[in-house]
Symmetry: C2
Subunit: 384 residues, 2 copies
């Protein structure tokens, strides 16, 4: 293995572009100075199209879970009942948060690797008019599933006035997201996935409908109080000390996304999904999800005749390439390749090519080049 | 193309390892302070095995050409005759330097793409006993040829006491080099190739035999005067202000080479040579050189049915991948892939895979994956 070479293909944290890394190395500035106001003023309009919203996107210093918890505590009054759609480990996190606050939660479990059916949720809500909010995961990182958020929003808002609260952590920035048009009430994400930044920021955009609920909410919260962030955002400021170096990086990451064009960013992620799936299909190694349910940002593979952990070890030891394993009951059964953010089709080709070699090293004698070829063909067809 | 992605596969400058980049970002220190002495003291012993010498390796702030010129002006007295072996553009540079100083030069030209024959040089020297020094290029970057330096040293020293002066710019650090054992009198290299640094340093190691000649040399030189560097090197210092940030980086680059082990470094480069050649052979695209003459650090390809410049343009525009074209009369006829320094077999696989796609885009319909597969097989056979 080449010393100092790390090829990061886990579904977050993702690689940092050199210009973002450089931006983050800028000297500190006073967080109440004009420079910080200017920085936030530059960032604000550029975040909106990524979320597909006209609302200010709130920025909190914290990990994605802080954003998820904030979405819960800001909206759910004591006594409210909520529905949590659990399609994997991160849907389960919403459930844990609600449990911690002793919120009466309906839990709708879906087999890991499948997407939730909007019709099923429609039926569930029809039977449970007491539900005040529905929590869902856009991309379920643990399985590589992209849940049908637009369709869910439609059925939820058709028959009730519940809030629709979405964890977009492992896809917002890599997958088209139209919060306002679709009718998402709170959309949360983190910095370390498709946003091309280190972990440490969480973002939340809040609809008008959600603000009505939040403004009447009497549950105590301080650091996670959306209202405080919203009030300060109007002045291009923050209620608490912001993570300045991450904001320097965010400004540059957003500039890169604008330079590439969001449509192209989304197309690139879609192409990488298609490439990864074509490769493993050509190698005859089963995928965990269907094409329809699969996320453009992460691909889960469920081999039936070799140990994914052995593969991961060879990749790491011999090539410095990190991919993810399975979580909870999928541990040892699947591996997951992150292809989001600062990741190009060329990077994914490299990953596939190396995996073919590593498969040989773990005794799975695939035809070398076959998966690569399928991915190359997909890229040539789909554009770059 | 992914913004901010540059894949650098030219034969220098080569990619900088992140830890070297980071080392170079250290704050400045006083160049006459103890810290600089400590830095040079750490570097000194670690440079020697890379050159295969017990001599101190002199470090000049300057590009490789400064080192080549220094080798000329320090050794060649007015009136001396020299032999210059020209196997490509960089052999020609020695000739230009000698011409500038009006040195009587014998020029031994070899067809570009071929290595020089030691027997031919033996015969030439036998006929020209007036020759005082032989200049040769170890790796001829312009053609990807590795000249047979050990064999040349043998025939040169067998019959005469001429100095053997070698330009090792595009291979020292990536190819085994035994200056003392082989009998190289001056070995020059630069920082921006297999040494994994930006351009800006040139290195020269000088044999005892060469010092005898240099000490008697009366040709004026100041900045390029090896004696000044040698004298100061003994005190872990430099005669002129050193390029400190590059020295910070050099310390780290040498640590990386030690960590990997020089033998493994050389094996890695050899493997990458074999991979590149296997790939183009599988794709039925002609190589410029024979296997025997080819360098482990750069591969030159001479297509007969597509335009290398069109290929280079697609690689750059669509993938951010830079490879080199031809120089002088090979311009437009060849392309060259650098695989040295901070470049892994996995990186080369990526390059080959992308080239296959780019070939399709320029209308050369190779079988996708075929070259990649040949390179994968070579890597699996040769180890990693």
């Amino acid at each position: 293995m080449l010393p100092d070479q790390t090829i990061l293909r886990i579904p977050g944290p993702t690689p940092i572009p050199p210009s973002v890394q450089q931006a983050m190395s800028q000297p500190m500035i006073g967080h109440r100075n004009q420079e910080t106001k200017d920085l936030l003023q530059t960032i604000k309009p550029n975040l909106k199209p990524v979320f597909g919203t006209e609302q200010d996107v709130l920025i909190l210093a914290g990990s994605g879970t802080a954003g998820l918890e904030a979405a819960v505590v800001n909206t759910v009054q004591p006594g409210d009942e909520v529905l949590i759609i659990v399609t994997g480990a991160f849907g389960d996190r919403f459930a844990q948060i609600c449990s911690e606050y002793q919120i009466t939660s309906h839990r709708y479990d879906v087999a890991w690797g499948e997407a939730v059916s909007p019709e099923a949720i429609k039926a569930y809500l029809a039977k449970h008019p007491e539900i005040k909010a529905v929590f869902a995961t856009y991309c379920e990182t643990s399985t590589g599933v992209l849940n049908p958020i637009p369709e869910l929003a439609k059925v939820i808002h058709q028959q009730t006035d519940v809030l629709f609260i979405v964890d977009g952590v492992s896809c917002v920035g890599g997958v088209q997201t139209k919060m306002d048009t679709w009718g998402i009430d709170i959309l949360v994400t983190g910095s370390q996935k498709a946003m091309m930044l280190p972990p440490g920021l969480t973002f939340a955009a809040v609809s008008e409908r959600a603000w009505h609920v939040i403004n009447k909410n009497e549950r105590p919260s301080f650091y996670l109080d959306f209202k405080r962030y919203h009030d300060q955002s109007a002045n291009n400021s923050t209620p608490f000390t912001p993570a300045l170096s991450l904001l320097f990086g965010l400004k540059q990451a957003l500039a890169m996304m604008e330079e590439e064009g969001l449509d192209h960013v989304y197309k690139r992620h879609q192409t990488m999904k298609d490439m990864a799936r074509a490769a493993f299909r050509a190698l005859n190694i089963p995928l965990l999800t269907t094409d329809e349910a699969a996320s453009p940002t992460v691909t889960a593979v469920k081999p039936d005749d070799f140990d994914p952990e052995a593969l991961r070890k060879v990749l790491k030891d011999d090539f410095g390439l990190s991919i993810a394993g399975g979580q909870k009951h999928l541990k040892g059964n699947i591996f997951r390749i992150g292809h989001m953010g600062y990741c190009s089709p060329a990077d994914l080709l490299q990953t596939i090519t190396i995996i073919e070699i590593a498969l040989h090293k773990v005794g799975k004698m695939v035809e070398l080049g076959k998966g690569t070829k399928a991915a190359q063909e997909t890229l040539l067809k789909g554009g770059n």
